[in-house]
Symmetry: C2
Subunit: 127 residues, 2 copies
């Protein structure tokens, strides 16, 4: 049985994926993979997700250049989540130009932005 | 508008939650919350999840004593995942007696267990 067959893909054929920076240990993002995305991630050594909004494979950094080089692929005890330890190219995982997508913190009943923008998104996604 | 209303609960009324150890920075587990679980987590300062298998609120550590004391609650850019930074009581998050649920790593096409059991589960869940 293939390691891919051990994943109990959900009813949409997906599994939740946490990307964590290998060096800073920051949790960068949560995304989704289907079987093909996980296979390509393992084969290429770069994160490939399934975009639920665009309904297609999404090579992380394909537009921004902010690839995620995969150092480790882990799976959890009940095999329904994947953890990628990655080297985040450019130090920016979020489309807002921040290191991590988790840049808002709950403070006194409000989601407060606490992390800085490292690069203006208009410079990241320029044509 | 309440901070809870800013969460775009999925069609099952849930959001994915990553728990990360505040000290070790290990990603401990991925679980799910509904609105009530997130409200209780914020109110109590201890992680309360929604158990999809048992279909009920699940206070993390209710049986094992391995509570998760919440130090930070974060939300991601598109508000569809939560990151909890927690103090993991007992240093064990996984029901297998390991620190993290992500104890298997992909190596040469196999999921290989690489983290030690810190405490025998039969001692954790004894009656």
């Amino acid at each position: 049985m293939s390691w891919l067959d051990e994943v109990p893909w959900n009813d949409q054929g997906l599994i939740a994926v946490v990307a964590q920076d290998f060096s800073s240990a920051r949790v960068l993002t949560v995304a989704w993979m289907n079987r093909e995305a996980l296979q390509q991630t393992a084969d290429k050594g770069e994160a490939v997700y399934w975009s639920r909004s665009r309904k297609r494979l999404w090579r992380k950094g394909e537009q921004s250049g902010h690839l995620q080089k995969v150092r480790e692929v882990r799976i959890d005890c009940d095999s329904d989540a994947i953890l990628l330890k990655v080297e985040q190219v450019g130090g920016i995982a979020c489309h807002t130009g921040r290191e991590s997508c988790f840049f808002r913190k709950l403070e006194n009943g409000n989601w407060v932005t606490i992390d800085p923008v490292l690069k203006d998104p208009s410079l990241i996604y320029k044509k």
